[in-house]
Symmetry: C2
Subunit: 295 residues, 2 copies
């Protein structure tokens, strides 16, 4: 019998069901924690969401997600602060220490892209990657005291470089650690998501660094499938279906002493369309085969 | 009147025409150099290809491409050596010093993927990125004396990380320079291709390093378009159509003292289907607007 005590599933993996259904499903499957996407919290209402989860005896491994910090205009920057302050409060209410941040891509010509990819190319100034990254650092500095006050950690997520333009100008774990460096490790951390970072030639060294600095806040696993899906966001697969060497990366993570939850977050149309109970069983089987032996 | 003396177009940009037609077209457009893909050389025959190009008064900015060095079996490794030796001889015959190398992805379960994406996921051992990268370094060491003998430079191309699994486990300019480090700069160089590296947080520093080490062998430009094309290889666009800040990257490249050709290599179905003369005019116009002012 495999030990599923560290396995957590993110609600985004079973996107089509409510938070109440996800909580019941994961709990019935013997899991002890759940990763929560904010859309499910909003639907349920924050206090009810917190109650649903704690009544089922689950803990929240992370809340996804805050971020989108690259706006160049005052209104966009104010919106980012307000939205992230709400996200911090939600994390605190849900009893999780870890709030995942997706920092945002290049500011589009129009309003920030948010959840939908930008349409058309941005204006010349809006292509300035260096300036956009400086704004990310500025917004982070403003959010750190808010997070500290709520005992929530801002967890920087490096996204695969194929999302740099429209979603996250934070592309490597090393860059995330550089961005985190000015702030206390209990308030700014990083997540290792295999899908986003598996290719990185500096991965071993930067995972070791993250552990050494006490910033390794979350380990998320799913596979890199090919071909890339027509909606590139949905290219993730079950562990074992793609190209990622979970044995090696799992060992690097474990060698840091990381002993927290291992969260499975898969965006994939076929998986979303499958019966949720079947999805959870497959996640458990793949975790037992490809991930757990190397932790 | 813009100065097109440094502009080179790669035959892959006008994929549907013969080498003879490309030579005539680029030459009539006032260009002085041409980037050559090996498929066009093979079609024309090597000696005839060399003659066609020199008779038109063009020089070859680079030959694309050798590489695919990750095979784990003896036969695959022998094939890689033979094919790359041929590519080196072709580069020498064509009178170019720069042979671009795409190093290859994870070895698939079956024969090496070559030009078509691998089908299905590889076996467990074949997912070992660290071991595959070590084999790349081993093959490179074997090829360096062959290249030196022919006065050809092996030019390592970092490809966008979205191609790491099936095409190139060399994903950043810094990694390319690390791989090149044991060898003389006149025999192993690197290329900066904006499409592949624009997102890299270490880009400025690594371009400076490439220049300082005398390894900056080629500057290639095209844009990063969204959404990613259904065939991810074909996501490239004309400069100005996507998200890349050519002003900033062009300045970083120029600051190293690089004064060589600027090669436009675009894989894009719509561009391939357009009239080639129109494509060349558009390339010139976009080069004049987005690239030349910052060189």
């Amino acid at each position: 019998m495999s030990d599923f005590s560290r396995l957590s599933i993110n609600t985004a993996t079973t996107k089509n069901i409510s938070l109440a259904d996800a909580v019941r499903l994961y709990s019935d499957a013997g899991l002890q924690s759940i990763g929560v996407w904010r859309d499910r919290v909003e639907e349920a209402g924050l206090d009810k969401a917190a109650r649903l989860i704690s009544d089922a005896g689950l803990t929240v491994s992370s809340l996804c997600r805050g971020g989108f910090l690259t706006a160049a205009d005052a209104a966009g920057q104010r919106n980012a602060l307000e939205d992230n302050t709400r996200a911090i409060e939600e994390a605190a209410t849900l009893g999780t220490h870890e709030l995942i941040l997706v920092v945002g891509g290049l500011p589009a010509a129009g309003p920030l892209a948010g959840d939908s990819a930008g349409t058309g190319a941005p204006t010349e100034g809006a292509k300035d990657v260096v300036a956009a990254r400086a704004r990310i650092a500025d917004r982070l500095a403003e959010l750190v005291p808010v997070a500290a006050e709520h005992n929530v950690r801002l967890v920087l997520e490096a996204l695969h470089p194929m999302y740099a333009a429209d979603r996250a100008l934070l592309s490597t774990l090393g860059q995330a650690l550089d961005l985190a460096a000015p702030f206390p490790a209990e308030t700014v951390g990083v997540v290792v998501d295999t899908f986003h970072v598996w290719w990185d030639p500096q991965l071993e060294e930067q995972i070791r660094r993250a552990g050494g600095e006490g910033r390794l806040a979350s380990y998320q696993v799913c596979d890199w499938n090919l071909p890339i899906a027509s909606d590139a966001l949905l290219s993730r697969g079950y562990m074992g279906d793609g190209y990622i060497d979970f044995a090696t990366i799992g060992k690097w993570v474990s060698d840091t002493g990381y002993a927290g939850p291992v969260e499975v977050e898969i965006f994939n149309r076929d998986i979303w369309d499958a019966p949720p109970a079947e999805v959870v069983e497959t996640v458990k089987a793949r975790y037992a085969e490809h991930v757990l032996p190397y932790l």
